[in-house]
Every structure is written in structure tokens, then in C-alpha cells.
């Protein structure tokens, strides 16, 4: 087996839900040693988040949790107990990176202030992920992914102008912040190798969104224009999914100069009418144009349109695929992208695999997600050699 890029990097993982676990999953899947601390008996609340494998009816066995916690070791530890405190001190001394996503101030309330952590381990990189960052007027605000779309600027430019703003399905903001946290952890770790000094990293999920919304603020700062959502009837092909006979396609061209190629691809004589051959003409007859275009698309199949478009370099059409399409997509199959992991359920679900490929130090899922506390004894007794007589209160849950 090839070596992994992050072998020998030791991560103390005090995260739960999605953003933190995705961060430590990226680190773990590329070789880091991840020790995940979970509240005794209760565990990461993500263990109870859908989807579940309905064949097993086990709503304590979230598939999302299994995806997010590959290659990790689970240790049950009550952070408010004396023993828990002692164990964390020892873990901090034996780690390179600590990642946490408690509410701001929580880790400090357990006695682990920055200066305390620094005293225990001057090299430690401390990564904190939170809704709105560790400082500022919103730092205690409640949020779900929806709120980040609103306060991160993406929602206002998402959807139709005649309807409410929209967000993506699922938990994109939290995945984004998790990815950025993993990058920042490695940057700070890289600096630590060079200088010997650890440092603190503050990740705000709101800022992960606001950093990556092209020309939303810049359009105002540089031209006074506030952008909005999609309008219809402007004489252009929509940059949005359009209905075809058996699904949807996104008809992207590099500029209206390629209109004649689109008209050819759609094989519809009415679109070759002289009045549609210039942007001005299409704009002038926008409603008629749009109706004809929609009628032309709906007559055609999505695969013939998609592959037909890509035989022209300028027509970079997108094929709208759902999960069923993806599982049998020839490119994903070529990349061996989907992976079965461990013995997760009788239906044998497949998981997204390596998000990118490193040729010499590959992604590798050696261990499926741990059961709650699976490695408590291995880590606390065998690895850290903590006093066994104090071990009895380890599994008592933290009331908080």
C-alpha cells in the first residue's frame, strides 16, 4: 500500500454534526490519526441524523455519520469530569492539531483556554469552527444551513425574481466550512513544522459562504450594481436547467456568438429565422424566442443533446443527473468514485469516494466509522496509560 500524505499527523477531534467531522474526515482519509471524543452514552448527535438504511430500521446508525467519520477512533469522555479533563490534557500533549466546533466559549468553560492549551503544547494547532466566528455581534446566533445562505449572500442571487430566494439542498455551507477548516489546519501545521509554533484558527461558516459568492459585494463596490436572481425572457438561453424529453439539461454556450451552433444542434428551422440571429433581435423578440427554444428542447432527449453539444468545443452543456444517474455514470465509474465502506447495513450503500486524487499518497478508507466509544480503552489505557482506578466515571454522560 502506498504511504499517505498525512501519516503521523495526530488530530484531537472535538467536533460533532457536519462541519467539524468533514474537516477531520478529510484529514483522516489522507492518513492522519484521528481521535474523536464523544459525550458518553449520547455521542455525536449526527449518529441520529438521516438518512438511515431502512433495511435495518436502525435510527441510531446514520449513514451520514458513517460517511463523515471514516478512519476515526471514538473515545467516550466526559469533558466536565476530573478524569475527562486529565485525559484531554494528555491527548493535547500528544496531538498536532485540535479541531472543535462547540459554541464559542464552551471549550474555555471546560478549562481549556488558549493559554492553557498553549502551556500544555506550544506546537498545537487549534482550529475552531463556529456559526459566525469566535467574535462579533452574531457570535451567539443560532443557525442552520438555511441561515448561512441568507447571511452569506448566496441566497439573494439564487432562484427566480418572481419567487422567494432559494438555497441548495442539504448542508453545503457546513461542508464548505469543513473543507476550509481542513485547509487552514494544514496551513497552520505547515507553519508549525517550519517555525515550531502552533497557532489558533477561527473559522466562521458565514464567512466561508461570503468569501465564495462571485461579484456579489464586488459588483456594488466596483460599479454600484446590486445583483439579483434569474429573470426570464431576455433573449438568451437560460443558464439554468431546461426541460427536455426525459429530464433536464443546462444549455451553456460561451457567448451568443455560438447561437448558430445551438440552432443546428436543436434541428429546428424556426430558430434559424433571421430575426433570431443577433442578440438584439433575440432580445426584441424575447418571448417568442423563449417559447420556441423551450419547445425545441422538450422534443429532444438529454443524452443526445449533451453528447451532441460536446462535439462542439463552444457548447459546454451540463447534464442534470440524480443519484441513480450518477451511480451508473461512465466517468464516475472510470474513476471508481463510489465506494462500499465496511459492513454498513444489509443494503450495502455506496459512499462518495475520493473528492480528488493524489497520485503518490492516495485517499484510503481503511476503517469504517467507529461505534460509540469503540476505542475508549485502546486509547485511554493502552496508548495514554491513564490510571485505571479512575476509569469508572468515564462513561457517565455530560449533563450539559
Amino acid at each position: 500500500m502506498k504511504p499517505q500524505a498525512l501519516k503521523n499527523v495526530r488530530v484531537l477531534d472535538l467536533t460533532r454534526y457536519i462541519s467539524g467531522p468533514y474537516c477531520t474526515k478529510l484529514l483522516g482519509d489522507f492518513g492522519a490519526d484521528i481521535i474523536k471524543i464523544e459525550n458518553p452514552s449520547v455521542g455525536d448527535p449526527c449518529r441520529k441524523m438521516p438518512p438511515f438504511d431502512e433495511a435495518t430500521q436502525d435510527t441510531n446508525n446514520s449513514l451520514l455519520f458513517q460517511y463523515l467519520n471514516t478512519n476515526k477512533k471514538s473515545v467516550e469522555l466526559n469533558l466536565k469530569s476530573d478524569f475527562g479533563h486529565l485525559a484531554v490534557e494528555k491527548l493535547v500533549r500528544n496531538s498536532d492539531i485540535l479541531v472543535e466546533n462547540f459554541r464559542p466559549g464552551t471549550l474555555e468553560s471546560y478549562g481549556f483556554t488558549e493559554s492553557k492549551l498553549r502551556t500544555l503544547n506550544p506546537n498545537l494547532v487549534v482550529v475552531s469552527i463556529s456559526n459566525f466566528g469566535q467574535t462579533g455581534p452574531y457570535k451567539d446566533f443560532e443557525a442552520t444551513d438555511l441561515i448561512f445562505y441568507a447571511l452569506g449572500g448566496l441566497m439573494f442571487i439564487f432562484g427566480s425574481t418572481n419567487k422567494s430566494p432559494l438555497k441548495h439542498a442539504f448542508h453545503q455551507a457546513q461542508f464548505k466550512a469543513g473543507t476550509n477548516a481542513a485547509s487552514a489546519a494544514l496551513m497552520a501545521y505547515y507553519e508549525m513544522i517550519n517555525s515550531g509554533n502552533g497557532q489558533k484558527v477561527d473559522i466562521s461558516i458565514q464567512e466561508s459562504m461570503a468569501a465564495s459568492v462571485r461579484d456579489t459585494t464586488t459588483s456594488y463596490a466596483a460599479s454600484g450594481i446590486v445583483r439579483t436572481r434569474q429573470t426570464l425572457m431576455n433573449g438568451e438561453l437560460p443558464r439554468a436547467p431546461i426541460q427536455v424529453k426525459d429530464g433536464y439539461i443546462v444549455p451553456i454556450t460561451f457567448g451568443p456568438t455560438e447561437w448558430s451552433k445551438t440552432a443546428n444542434l436543436l434541428e429546428d428551422d424556426s430558430l434559424s429565422d433571421a430575426k433570431f440571429q443577433t442578440p438584439e433581435g433575440r432580445r426584441q423578440h424575447a418571448e417568442e424566442f423563449e417559447n420556441l427554444v423551450r419547445a425545441a428542447f422538450i422534443r429532444r432527449g438529454r443524452h443526445e443533446l449533451f453528447y451532441g453539444a460536446h462535439s462542439h468545443r463552444e457548447l459546454v452543456y451540463g447534464l442534470v443527473q440524480d443519484a441513480a444517474d450518477l451511480i451508473k455514470n461512465p466517468q464516475y465509474e472510470h474513476d471508481q468514485y463510489f465506494q462500499a465502506i465496511g459492513n454498513s447495513g444489509s443494503n450495502k450503500p455506496k459512499f462518495p469516494g475520493s473528492p480528488f486524487k493524489l497520485s503518490k499518497t492516495p485517499w484510503n478508507v481503511q476503517k469504517p466509522a467507529p461505534t460509540l466509544g469503540q476505542h475508549t480503552e485502546e486509547i485511554l489505557i493502552e496508548r495514554l496509560k491513564l490510571p485505571v482506578d479512575k476509569f469508572q466515571d468515564v462513561r457517565r454522560p455530560n449533563e450539559r
Partner: protein, 449 residues
Amino acid sequence: MKDNGILSGVRIVELGQLIAVPYATKLLSDMGAEIIRLESAKRPDAYRLSAFYDERRDGKYWNRALNFNEQNRNKLSLGLELDNKNGLQYLYDLISISDVFACNFTPRVMKKFGLEYENLQKIRPDIIVISSTGYGHTGPWSSFGAIGFGTEAASGLAAATGYENGPPAQPEIPYPDYTAAEHTVFAVMAALIHRLKEGEGQFIEVSQAECVTSTIPETILEYTANKRIVKRIGNSHPNISPHGCYPCEGQDKWITIAANSQDQWKSLSNLLFPETGSDNRFQSNESRIRNRTELDKLISSKTLSWNNVELMNTLQKEGVAAGAVLNGKELLFNEHLNQRDFFEIVPHHPESEVPTLPYPGKPWKMSPGSDVKMKGAPLFGQHNESILKNYLGLNDDSYDTLINEKAVVDNIKLDTRDILVSREIREKEGSIYSYDPNFKSTIKSYFNI
């Protein structure tokens, strides 16, 4: 701590355009990596050709292009035509003194210029090479060109997103480019760490579509475990109600609200409709999910008389998750982001005729001294002479020859794209929310620049 960023000493040669690679290298250059952007006058980055500062299209408009300037701060620009035989040799020479080569051309173009990993490894054995493409570097879709609107469709994200009973939907930005760029930064850092420890470079292959699929495990797992295709449900949540976007007072003003617990629900209903708090259609989360449509209607009828920011603050004080939907101007002036100094104040080269402007900041905050003093995006070809003479040791004669052969360029001789539509037309069509003729003084005074 170094005072010029924790990645100072890392040199990256970039042959990229639009966002997927440039945003990744921007995040690295914000932390001190040196980025040399190769640019071509014959095939310039499309972002050099659209959307200009103050909408001015005269003179060297390409140095005022706002999307280019947003994605490329702190970088160096070398205008070098690769179809000139010497041009290509100088690219190889540059790679030989660099740590990373990043490219988002299709494999066909990389091969045409001899930029495959195996070739570059001969030039610099420990080079890290990034190929970021829409669908992958090898395989049946690898020759397909792509921009974010296409890879978002392919990734599985668009099919799950959209209004209830409506078509799949995507936002007005090439969203997957950012997801791919964020993963690329992680990949580069992992490769740099391996190289620092073991002295070995490698090839990084990024599929923009697959990066996005990695962030939507829910849809893949629901299908592979239970053979169920996730339905589009707008802003609703399958397990939380209320969870939505509701209209507020004013033109196109909205608030998002999510009541994640029974306590949050009680606070919300006490504030908005105390009289219907005991309505048994809304007693439990389960019944609220069942009666979601009626509940959303009821909430909308109440939020309409509120200012969205006031309602957000009132609800958050009660512990209810709520967020005003901020437009671009409101985001730029958001009190929380500005108290955290999120926006970077970036000066531009005087020749660009762009003043100092605020731009979106970094998605992380590190200890003081970890990042760099911001410089604006480079003028097209701004660093031709310094790179070719100082880094590659060209003498005056050979440099002049390259200029004469138009292999080294600092000028774009192309018209702006004909997709540019005047602001007046866009306003009439409703594709602009608002225009503020006083934006220059507003920006200057708010950011004190």
C-alpha cells in the same frame, strides 16, 4: 512567524482561468505563496473581458475587470504566448524553479503543450502538478469542456435543489468552481506537507463535479441504501418545520427562519402569532411538518409587517435561528462581518485607474502575522520584465526579441464580449436589483479608504 505570510517561499505557476484554479491560488496567495499567472493576449481569461470598474469600457479595460480583480489579488502576471516556441520553453524554465504548477485546461490542451506530469517531472523531479477539470483528467468525459453551471448539473446537487414541484435550480454563480477550489487548496497543502517531509512531488487530479458530489452524501446514500431519489422541496427541511424564507416589509426583502426545537417554536409563535399558539395543527414538529404549507402561509402573513433585520435580531434574542437575506450591498455593509474585519481592503496599481476597494476576505482567521499585506490583482503583463529577466536571467536582447515576436505581451487586442448588455437594459429587464450612482463616495466613507 514570518512577516510575509506562512506560505512565503512557495512558488506556484498558474495556467488557469475563471475560478476553479484562480480562487484556489488566491487563497494560497493570501497566505504568502507567490503566484505567477500566465496570461495570453490571444486567449485571455474570460474574466478580463467582462464587467468593469464603473462600467468603463475604454482604454485598458482588462485591468479594470472586476471578476478578474476579485479572483487574482496578490498575484504576478506574465503575458506569454505558448504558441511561440520560445514562449513554451520559458514556461518550462519557470516550472523548473517552482514548487507547484496549476492548470485548468482540458487534458488535450495540457498534452498539446507537453505539460503532462511525466514531462514536468523530468524538468523538476519534485514538482506538484494540479489538473483541475470539469469531470476528470482521464476517462470518457475528460475531454468535455465545462464551467460551473454544467458541473453543478452533473454532480447531483442541481437535481436535488429547487422549488417544490419546480425544475432543478442553480444559483447565479458558478458554484462548483468554489467547492473544487476549496478542495484543491486542501490537496495542495497535503502534497506540500508530504513533499516537505519526504522530498517527493506528485500529480493532483481534481474533478470539479466529483468534489461537489463528495459534499452531498445524503442523496447518494438515500439512493444506494433505500433506492429513493430525494425530492426538491425548496427551502423546506424534511425533518424541521418551520424552516423557510418569508417575505418582509420592503422591495424584495426576506427573512429565513428555522425553529430547530420546541423551545424555539414557542418563542417564534409567541412573538408572531400568540393568538394561534394553541392551534393543534402546529403543536409538535411532526404536525408542523404535516401542515407545513398552512404554517408557512401563516408565518408569511405575519413577517410581511416586519423589517427583516429587526425581526432577525428580535428572534435571535429569543434563541430562534433566523437570518435576513442580504443582498450584495447589505452583505458588504453587514455589521457583524465588518466588526470582524472580514473584507480585505485592496489597493490597485495606479495605471489600472481602479481605486482601493473592499473585496471578500479569507474563509479563516489565523494569528496575526500569518497572512500578507494585500496587493491588487496585477495589470495584464505587469511582471513580464521582472520575471523573465530576474527569475529566468534573460538579457535585454532576448527580451526585446520576445517582445518583437509578440511572444511577450502586455496588451489585449480583442473587443469586449458582445454579451455585455448595458445597465439600462438590464435594469429594465429586472436583472439588476438596484443601482447606486453614489457608490464611490459610499464605499470611501464606510471603509474609510
